[in-house]
């Protein structure tokens, strides 16, 4: 597959994402004709359709875009940093740890004292996860170690999350594990968006700035350092950036898995396998994927709305399996 130029790739992804976002605003539990939506959006007086758009549909679409971008970007960044195409926040346990952090922050009531508590909880959880992952699997670079570390982190995080939910005196808590493990963007409000968005954007800035370092790392750590890359700073930027992006996302929507695996993998040939170029493309690709998945989930008439993580897992898990099988010889 030939490499696409930046303009062509980012332009195409951008346009597709914008179109998807517009259609996404048109989907909801109520059937509102597009003409009415258009009119209401631009009308000067407040009206209920606009309220629906702004209070419900806009946060949902915006979160889908931002969470998708965060997951795609974090996946691409982690793969570049760990030099491993199987690295992805969900697979390696970062998302699970973020969910744990968010669950602890939410169910202990911290959110009532401080609105940022839950996203920050997610970020702290994700940060601890990345640090543990680096400690367990950073140096060796072997796929086997990475996946094993991911299994360990996921098991640990999942168990503690379950425990936290069971220990909550609120009787609804124990039934809510499905939200955290499978993810959902349903009923997310402007408040959710307001508290998560700035943190996600901060994460994006940190990650997007590491393009050169990731390119240089293709040649190995020593060569990268000799080319002037400050590996310590790169490590910190990536740890913090991934923690912010993934942590704030998972805290708001639960774990939506495999986005950071599928999107970079599909786009990698189009950027000539260059980790630096893959960052921006994966952000847009992730946004597109999650918006499309969310639109699908809303359009399926299945009674209770399907959790979006179920859909991404249905796509992503076979994908992951195919990657593993195909690269069996290459992965030590």
């Amino acid at each position: 597959m030939r490499e696409w130029s930046n303009a062509r790739l980012l332009g195409t992804l951008g346009v597709l994402t914008a179109i998807a976002a517009i259609f996404s605003l048109g989907i909801g539990t109520l059937k509102i004709p597009p003409g009415d939506i258009w009119q209401a959006a631009w009308s000067s007086e407040p009206n209920v359709i606009r309220t629906v758009l702004i209070e419900l549909r806009l946060p949902r679409t915006a979160l889908a875009l931002m969470v998708g971008a965060s997951l795609g970007l974090a996946g691409a960044a982690m793969q570049g940093f760990l030099r491993n195409p199987l690295a992805e926040p969900g697979v390696v346990g970062i998302s699970g740890m973020a969910a744990l952090g968010a669950v602890v922050a939410f169910y202990t009531g911290l959110a009532s004292a401080w609105s940022f508590a839950v996203p920050i909880g997610g970020i702290v959880g994700a940060g601890i996860g990345v640090a543990l992952l680096q400690a367990l699997a950073g140096r060796s670079g072997s796929t086997l170690t990475l996946i094993l570390a991911g299994i360990a982190l996921n098991a640990f995080a999942g168990a503690l999350t379950s425990l936290a939910l069971n220990l909550s005196p609120n009787p609804y808590a124990v039934y809510e594990i499905l939200f955290w493990l499978m993810g959902s963007i349903a009923d997310r409000t402007l408040e959710h968006l307001a508290f998560a968005a700035p943190l996600m954007v901060l994460g994006w800035l940190l990650l997007l700035g590491q393009g050169r370092a990731l390119d240089a790392l293709s040649l190995g750590e020593d060569a990268a350092r000799s080319l002037g890359i400050d590996l310590r700073r790169t490590t910190w930027s990536l740890v913090l950036g991934a923690a912010l992006a993934v942590g704030a996302s998972v805290a708001t929507t639960g774990v939506i898995g495999f986005v950071g695996l599928v999107v970079p993998h599909l786009l990698r040939p189009l950027v000539g396998h260059r980790p630096g170029r893959l960052l921006g493309a994966s952000a847009l690709g992730g946004a597109l994927l999650v918006v499309l998945a969310d639109m699908t989930v809303r359009s399926l008439a299945l009674g209770v709305e399907l959790k979006i993580g179920v859909l991404t897992a249905l796509i992503g898990a076979p994908f992951f399996l195919a990657l593993v099988l195909r690269g069996r010889r290459a992965f030590a």
Binding site: V52, T189, L190
Partner: protein, 270 residues
């Protein structure tokens, strides 16, 4: 059945020598709604046990009364030694415990979930008869009717009320809540939307439909859950500024407590 244990049911049945038509001396309840009726109609000495839920003030109208009575956790082995003449269960009460008690020869009667106020009255009378407290039951109903009679009369057009429970659940036509809303002088928002007896209330519908008042029966736990986020969300408060809180204990079950629900709703209309 295993022959070795064949003697046990016979022994226990002997212990239980029950005459189905006589007034039961001691009654055990394995169901919260049955608890309410039992606590309201019987003196403590005649109550073998009620469930532990009866002591929860947010769910049980008779929580104070339940403190003076033995509680059970819904297990057959707790009931057997209590030697109750009658065990009241609900439709979904632990089937294993119910089956076990039935096998041991206990007299089991089922308490039903009413779908409207008429059903509430019927159930109070029926259970009253089973408990041998028919006059008591009639007194309760008389008091209930007095309170309902004292309400301000409904005004047309009726205000629209939307019930919002945790996880966005509402109550449509054919439910007790629906009937209570009607008696209190409202129109049920869920009926306007064509929803079922228990259905989710889409937030978009809430914003677009703009009911006049939001009815919330949330139990105020110290610590949060996702299920209750909607009820507490600023967005819902913006969409429907007026709200009334009806505690769960008022209308989950039959009993005179239902009057509380109707009264609060009717007051909120003014």
């Amino acid at each position: 059945m295993n022959i070795r244990f064949g003697w046990l049911p016979a022994l226990v049945a002997g212990l239980w020598a029950v005459d189905g038509s006589a007034k039961p001396l001691r009654v055990a309840s394995l169901n919260l709604c049955a608890d309410q009726l039992v606590l309201e109609m019987l003196e403590p000495v005649r109550i073998a046990s009620v469930t532990w839920l009866a002591r929860d003030a947010t769910q049980s109208a008779m929580a104070e009364a339940a403190k003076g009575v033995t509680i059970n956790y819904g297990r057959a082995e707790e009931i057997v030694p209590q030697q109750a003449d009658l065990v009241l269960v609900g439709q979904f009460t632990a089937p294993a415990a119910t089956a076990m008690l039935r096998r041991l020869g206990a007299r089991i009667e089922m308490v039903e979930q009413p779908r409207d106020l008429a059903g509430v009255r019927r159930e109070i009378l029926r259970v009253g008869a089973i408990l041998g407290e028919a006059e008591r039951a009639e007194a309760i109903i008389a008091a209930l009717d007095r309170r309902l009679g004292a309400l301000p009369p409904p005004i047309e057009p009726r205000p629209v009320a939307a019930l919002l429970r945790p996880n966005g659940v509402t109550a449509g036509p054919g439910s007790l809540v629906d009937d209570v809303l009607r008696v209190a002088g409202y129109e049920n928002f869920a009926a306007r939307l064509g929803l079922d007896r228990t259905d989710r209330l889409p937030l978009e519908a809430l914003i677009m439909g703009r009911p006049d008042i939001l009815v919330v029966d949330y139990r105020d736990f110290a610590l949060p859950s996702l299920a209750q986020l909607q009820q507490r969300s600023p967005m819902v408060a913006r969409a429907v500024p007026k709200r009334v809180v009806v505690p769960s204990w008022a209308w989950t079950c039959s009993g005179s407590a239902i009057a509380e629900a109707v009264e609060r709703l009717a007051q909120a209309r003014i």
